[in-house]
Symmetry: C2
């Protein structure tokens, strides 16, 4: 199957600009601290209905930003979405396209002829929303590792505060993949009266322990880099790019399936017909690719944002947060209709997580629909398998 066959029909939302809004009230955080003067970067696509009842919030994953759809001319808008398939398509389509451009637009899964779609950069981010690289008003320098340790609940609290400022008090749906799906779940459990439907894709109620381990390894790679400097590297002229590169490599391979790595690279040698007996030069195509990915990523992403976001998604655990360890009890308060989509080859967020959620929701007699899409691209499927997600999402939103 070529990338082309995965494409969706439908139009583009066209040129968009990211907006920024400073929240007028301090945001209380799970850790007990509060953040004042939080700035939120966001984009919107489509038209808000007079009744303000057509709002869909889309939530990004670990390395995303507010720019979910359309094209932008922002100078730093080098679109490098997770996953090699996604990135190749970006290159093909030119720079500046949103990370879910295939899903958001006229006639697409999130149809901007019907819905007003809002996308925000997460709290702790490095693309416009307040995060560890923002100035700490107390010290006048970047927060660095003085930034409070945040949770998915905190991220959702900031999204909700933004929506309040935009005059939106109710969501037709919250959707997202991976960490984005965790936010959708958090919305449904934390604010059941304000959400009509959620669409968590390639997500889970709690990351499984091997996933916790991968995240810990990636964070260790960053903090082991002496240029991390205890988290206060901003303004020093040095940043933990070497550690971030290794973190990105770990992340990257966990987003792909073994089969997709094999199909894409095999054991093909890089730049030579035979091995060159060199200790550090990439000998295999996959080695070269990983290094290229690392080099690209460190130019656009802040290492501390990686640390904070990775921590938050590892903490996320609906049963622990809301059910004293019991998932059924945790989701008892959900009133939103739920569409869960998982992918057969996703081993970072395997179908089992969605399946457990579906079982708990069904046991509590909630309205839930669960699909496993049989596809080979691993966790990246949520960015790549747009054409097969689209009819499921459109039918669900019609329901």
């Amino acid at each position: 199957m070529t990338a082309t066959t995965l494409r969706t029909a439908g139009g583009s939302v066209g040129h968009v600009e990211t907006s920024f809004l400073e929240l007028p009230v301090a945001v209380p955080l799970d850790c007990g601290r509060a953040l004042s003067g939080v700035r939120v970067a966001y984009e919107t696509y489509g038209t808000l209905s007079p009744a303000r009842d057509n709002v869909i919030l889309v939530c990004h994953a670990l390395s995303g930003d507010a720019h979910a759809a359309g094209s932008t001319s922002a100078p730093n808008a080098v679109r490098t979405r997770d996953g090699f398939g996604a990135e190749e398509r970006d290159a093909e389509r030119g720079r500046g396209l949103g990370w879910w451009d295939g899903m958001i637009g006229p006639g697409k899964a999130f149809d901007t002829d019907r819905f007003f779609v809002v996308s925000t950069n997460l709290l702790g981010g490095c693309a416009g929303t307040t995060g560890p690289s923002s100035l700490d008003p107390q010290t006048g320098r970047a927060y660095g590792s003085d930034f409070p340790v945040i949770t998915v609940s905190d991220m959702v609290r900031v999204q909700r505060a933004l929506l309040t400022e935009l005059g939106i008090s109710r969501l037709a749906a919250v959707a997202g993949g991976s960490l984005g799906g965790m936010q959708a779940l958090e919305w449904a459990v934390g604010f059941p009266e304000e959400v009509d439907a959620i669409i968590p894709i390639a997500s889970t109620h709690s990351l499984h322990p091997q996933g916790v381990a991968w995240n810990a390894i990636a964070r260790n790679a960053i903090t082991a880099d002496p240029d991390w400097q205890g988290g206060h590297y901003h303004g020093t002229g040095r940043a933990p790019t070497a550690g971030m590169g290794v973190a990105r490599m770990v992340g990257h391979i966990t987003y792909l399936s073994a089969m997709s790595v094999n199909n894409k690279f095999g054991r093909r040698l890089h730049g030579a017909d035979d091995i060159r007996y060199d200790l550090t030069t990439p000998e295999f195509e996959v080695e070269n690719y990983l290094r290229h990915q690392a080099d690209t990523f460190v130019k656009r992403f802040d290492a501390n944002t990686y640390l904070y976001t990775s921590r938050a998604l590892s903490y996320f655990d609906l049963a622990r947060q809301y059910g004293d360890g019991d998932l059924r009890r945790a989701i008892r308060r959900v009133s939103a209709r739920t569409l869960l989509i998982a992918f057969s080859s996703d081993w970072l967020y395997p179908p089992q997580g969605s399946q457990e959620l579906a079982a708990a929701l069904r046991a509590e007699e909630k309205d839930v629909e669960y699909h496993v899409i049989d596809a080979p691209y691993g966790h990246d499927c949520f960015l790549l398998e747009e054409a097969r997600q689209t009819p499921l999402i459109r039918a669900f939103l019609d329901g």
Copy 2:
């Protein structure tokens, strides 16, 4: 199932000392260079028959050494075998036991009442055999990254030179897990007239691309550490322990199955009843465990040995080396009887590799036996599932 039930019957080879021998002739290497004055660390268990026809060579994996069985009082013999199960058992049994002690001894899989078992530290190693931390006679300082880039063939060439010195010209069997199994295969293809049988366990004819990627990531973690110093850290008082720690974490998780990580740690918190909102302190048991593993490993293992050995096992590719890309052609010269054992939950060296080997050997009408043991411990099974490997190996060696 508790660790106890995995144990084997049979006795111990008792106290052993590692021996050392300097090869009298230079060893030619695949890269075109040659190494003179190669020292080899080795141990033997059992008694060499008068006909010298009862020799079994056992070959270690990435982080092993010559001490495969029995107990030793060597001061640096902290037995930390790959895998948490293995390491716990080491702790239980006391320090100093060989990495395959459950497999080698009177009445065990490799029965020292019948066989004379030889185990060597690999070329490039850091436990007695010449490697990058050895003195380069040309410069009088440690080779570091001036050590030649080696292959599995080179490792086998050194083993063979040692055996020649010991007066052994024929092997009843060559056995090993993981990289050790690659050596067994290399023996059978490279020196078919000298090997009666091979037992590659949890191994493959070529590492699959995702495995190549994991190895590249681990190596990148080491070389990204400024203390690696381009490979010349010996004598500087600094070594790339931070990078090595990350490399070990990556390796460690790939040795375990997702299920075994889950069974062992779940999402249990470490040292507290609730999350502590701390950016760098391990919050989960699995995070703490990884850090402990990293700290232990860097004390006993040389980073350059890791780099060179990881390179060698990534290069290994029977079809490329011996068959112009055709595996059947590559193994056509094999005359050894072959026993292949794989483990259902091993995703680093998945059963498919052994299965492809078995199919190629069968297609060439070779004598091959292939077993997949259904066990949950991932790649570590080859060190843990001794009781279930034992009857297969004993029956095969009787055959």
